[in-house]
Subunit: 370 residues, 2 copies
């Protein structure tokens, strides 16, 4: 089916309310998730409900939590997620960073005691929509990234996002990248499709490339050794840089905020203990540095010029980070969000278990693309 | 020869004074350059004097310049480098960011109208030595990085550095990485040694790997098409991420500060116009977020645990970014800075042209390693 965005939103809100989340936080969470689905990041939207249910059942995810500011000054703050879902606290933290940036030029807000917050780029876009630069980093509970020279995973996929606004307050540039070559979900998609993976995504315990996707999944989720390569691959091709970015994200989103280092936490925390995921949000007002119209003019010239780069293949033009998601958002806003039958069935089951109404609605056929 | 660090420092100061730089700025510049040589980053220390002389002769580098704060508030500032060398203005800007961070929790300082500043990591370390996190980005005048899907270079190697302090104010973690697979200098070293390069460093105008280092140099410095690959290599292995990081650096260090987008600037600027390189400095005081002793304890646990990662090869342990430079600094502090005869000759020639005394001194033989 291709579900209407509105029905996906109402479905998510219905389930979150049934799980005990406050209505305002449920609306914020559903907005983050449906925007992520509209942008084509299927791994971080509606499909996350199964994982959230599992964490809730395990007692580690506290859906009744409300985020709380622990300390702040004119340009920094630390916010406690209360072991709730990441979306509400991340939205609040980025909004707070933006307020500080608009008043003081820059705002940095750390979050501790949070959980999965969906796609980092969503929060960077919140900043850009308010006319400022937004940067986002987060730690992760799954440990699957192998350090350069290493044989076993020590870090999460630790993503970095940056968004920059155009003169109309639209995100003109949105980078949203893991610090690994690929995210775990990409391996999963190849496994589901029975396709061999390109070399360099997953390595075994001796640093050798794994191309069988089922083997890849085993290295990511079952075996103690092997895992995702850092961005750059081997040390020869810059893998120490992707590894370094991963540690940088852990330091800013985890060590600075009091968020967990999941590798250690996962070995010592009792069952049912919250994940204590940490996030980091930075907002910078260009107007603190130079006249905004000059900033926007130079940004436009930069991005326009990059789009005009001679392409290596004539049919594949050079893009700006954020372009693919913008195009997909437009397509899905018109044509609906694809929901595979297996996912629809999972959502139905979740509804049955928590007493929420099943609300996903297929888009009327006429507007649907092939 | 293996020169004493002290003689390298005095040599650099002597030349900079002869070129008209003020003594305080010359001392700051020499400190940055000699520390970089001590850390083993030969491409960014003493050996840059030839390039600086060329820029000075071309009229674009104004060595008499003094950096000037154009605007500031409690936690941000913009500094004009006056078309001088990057080292003095970068040092001043990072010190200013640190002052703001110590007072307000965070400080962000942009620099415009600068030139080459050496190694980004040097300025990140300045922050760490004062007990705060330091982040550094810079644009570059040489355009040699090809965007993902592209056939021609549009960006510089656009480096990112981050340093984090330990409890004693020593840099415990120092990432200093270009956003390309390798920096141009690495291709040069392979060319000088007549060695074939690994696949994935340099590409031609059709995106195919170039492994002949002399051909690689031609793609970097002579031909309009081809160039350095972004970190990650091809799109299949994450090259769009390295490209995205490169644009992020251009936005923060260039667009935000009023620094040039060199690709456009190099096409339109008259001969002798300054490069208008832009830099970005961010300092964050961990104490604004949590008790410093907790931060240092968690950082120590993170880095110690990463060092204990099972290695893929028993003889190559997993390192922390900054470890190789720290080890090299210790070795060269004891054993001197290697200065190839060709470089010593260049320095002699520069001295002769500007009337400075030749001061490089070989380390007394006994302390010299093989």
């Amino acid at each position: 089916m291709r579900a209407t965005a509105e029905s996906v939103r109402r479905q998510i809100i219905g389930i979150l309310l049934a799980w005990g989340m406050d209505p305002d936080l449920a609306a914020t969470t559903a907005e983050a998730m449906v925007q992520t689905d509209l942008m084509g990041i299927d791994s971080h939207g509606l499909s996350m409900l199964m994982m959230y249910e599992k964490l809730r059942d395990g007692g580690q995810l506290h859906l009744q939590a409300r985020p709380r500011v622990l300390r702040q000054n004119a340009c920094t703050a630390l916010v406690d997620g209360g072991a709730g879902l990441g979306h509400p606290v991340a939205t609040m933290a980025m909004e707070l960073a933006v307020e500080k940036a608009l008043a003081a030029g820059i705002g940095a807000v750390g979050v501790c005691n949070s959980h999965h917050f969906g796609a980092a780029g969503h929060y960077a876009r919140i900043a850009a929509r308010r006319g400022v630069l937004g940067m986002v980093m987060t730690t992760a509970r799954s440990v699957m990234a192998v350090p350069a020279r290493g044989a076993a995973p020590m870090l999460g996929t630790n993503p970095i996002a940056l968004a920059a606004p155009d003169a109309d307050g639209e995100p003109a540039f949105v980078l949203d990248m893991s610090s690994t070559t690929v995210a775990g979900n990409k391996v999963k998609v190849y496994d589901l499709n029975g396709k061999p993976m390109p070399e360099g995504w997953v390595m075994d315990g001796e640093g050798r490339p794994v191309t069988d996707a089922a083997e890849g999944m085993a290295y990511l989720y079952k075996r103690a050794e092997g895992g995702l390569t850092p961005l750059g691959g081997t040390v020869e091709t810059g893998g120490h840089k992707g590894y370094g970015l991963g540690v940088m994200v852990q330091i800013l989103a985890g060590t600075l905020t009091g968020g967990a280092f999941s590798f250690l936490r996962n070995r010592t925390a009792p069952p049912g203990a919250p994940d204590n995921i940490g996030h980091f949000f930075l907002a910078i007002d260009p107007a603190a540095f130079r006249p905004p119209e000059e900033f926007h003019q130079d940004l436009g010239a930069l991005l326009d010029t990059l789009r005009q780069t001679p392409p290596a293949r004539p049919d594949r033009p050079v893009l700006i980070p954020g372009d693919p998601e913008r195009m997909e958002h437009a397509a899905r806003s018109a044509g609906g969000i694809p929901v595979p039958e297996s996912l629809a069935r999972h959502v139905r089951d979740i509804c049955a278990r928590c007493g929420a109404e099943y609300l996903l609605e297929d888009l009327p056929g006429a507007a649907r693309p092939a």
